[in-house]
């Protein structure tokens, strides 16, 4: 009973944001598909309270490959420090457009300074024939706003 109440309180305090890929994601340079989507944080969505992220995308692949995603944090004040969570991955299904959700850990993105940039990235393995179309990202926090 007590556990249920505590869990209920935690749920009530959770908050989330969703961003469409059109405004949040960019394709990184290179021949292999690789996208990074910005996570908006600030006093109304504090970075140290991030506790979940999701990236949704379509892909189309004609060769065996693995698509991976990670949340990262980058500090551009000298010295440069970039930190990424362990990857989440999915092996491709060939010759069909497929929608996928991946949920990379936010342990790296939640640390650091409020001035750091935070992204969710998704990238194909080693094949230029794997085409990724990011749809959007969802991020969650425990602050309740």
């Amino acid at each position: 009973m007590g556990g249920a109440l505590i869990a209920g309180a935690g749920w009530a305090l959770a908050a989330s944001r969703s961003l469409g890929a059109d405004g949040a994601c960019i394709r990184n340079a290179g021949t292999i598909d690789n996208y990074s989507c910005g996570i908006p944080v600030g006093s109304d969505f504090p970075s140290d309270k991030l506790n979940g992220s999701e990236i949704d995308f379509f892909y189309y692949a004609t060769s065996d490959d693995t698509i991976r995603a990670a949340t990262c944090r980058e500090s551009y004040f000298q010295p440069y420090v970039g930190a990424c969570s362990p990857n989440q991955s999915v092996k491709v299904v060939l010759n069909t457009t497929t929608a996928v959700q991946l949920f990379p850990s936010t342990t790296s993105a939640a640390g650091g300074s409020v001035y750091d940039y935070r992204t969710i990235s998704v990238w194909a393995g080693s094949k230029t024939t794997t085409h990724i179309t990011p749809l959007g990202i969802y991020v969650y926090n425990t602050a309740g706003y």
Binding site: F77, P79, P86, N87
Partner: protein, 207 residues
């Protein structure tokens, strides 16, 4: 307005007590009290009220200078509160370069102090080496050293220049590997060397 009323009430109370004391201390009764300790106590009370009134006036002046005029509608009665100055919200401090260097040095020291699990180190090191080589030497990157211990791996990576290291930073952080490891790429201003530029990649893995 509530604060202004509170301040006014304090001032009025001080004035009333001051007037009462002044009246009481007429020449007729003054000699009786002149030597008494009670007079001293009353004067102390008046001084205290006067000081409080001055602080309240100063605070009122600050509020009037900083904020919009208080609404004219009567405010509901509320208990008076202490008039401590409100803390000013300042933006959080950026970590300095020195703090970042110290953080990196601490992580490297922790890696160096870690015991070596030979089986894990060999397996994880081989996978990290494969994943780094699969990147195709972005920016002409070379792996100059790679060492895994029991939970962390440290790789020193060499590029022709710092700019080339920076250009491919995301490729290096996005390893094609399913190692359960957080990657931390550090490109410090201490990485310049005779061959170009050296950065460090530190993996912290869960087991």
């Amino acid at each position: 307005l509530t604060r202004a009323l509170t301040i006014g009430a304090v001032g009025l109370l001080g004035g009333l007590i001051g007037a009462a004391v002044t009246t009481w201390l007429t020449p007729a009764v003054q000699p009786r009290l002149a030597a008494s300790a009670e007079l001293g106590a009353l004067r102390a009370q008046v001084d205290a009220l006067s000081r409080g009134n001055n602080r309240a006036a100063a605070r009122l002046a600050r509020l009037e200078a900083n904020g919009p005029a208080a609404p004219q509608a009567p405010a509901p009665a509320e208990p008076s509160v202490p008039m401590a100055p409100e803390p000013e919200e300042s933006p959080p401090q950026r970590p300095s370069a020195e703090e970042r260097h110290q953080e990196q040095a601490k992580l490297l020291a922790a890696h160096a102090a870690e015991p070596v699990d030979r089986a894990w180190a060999a397996q994880t090191g081989a996978e990290l080496d494969r994943a780094l080589n699969e990147l195709g030497h972005p920016g002409k990157m070379e792996i100059t050293s790679l060492e895994c211990r029991s939970q962390t791996c440290l790789a020193h990576l060499q590029w022709p220049s710092r700019q080339e290291a920076f250009d491919v930073r995301r490729s290096v952080q996005s390893l094609n590997s399913d190692l359960p490891c957080e990657r931390r790429l550090y490109l410090g201003d201490d990485g310049e060397n005779a061959k170009g530029y050296e950065g460090t990649l530190l993996l912290t893995c869960s087991r």
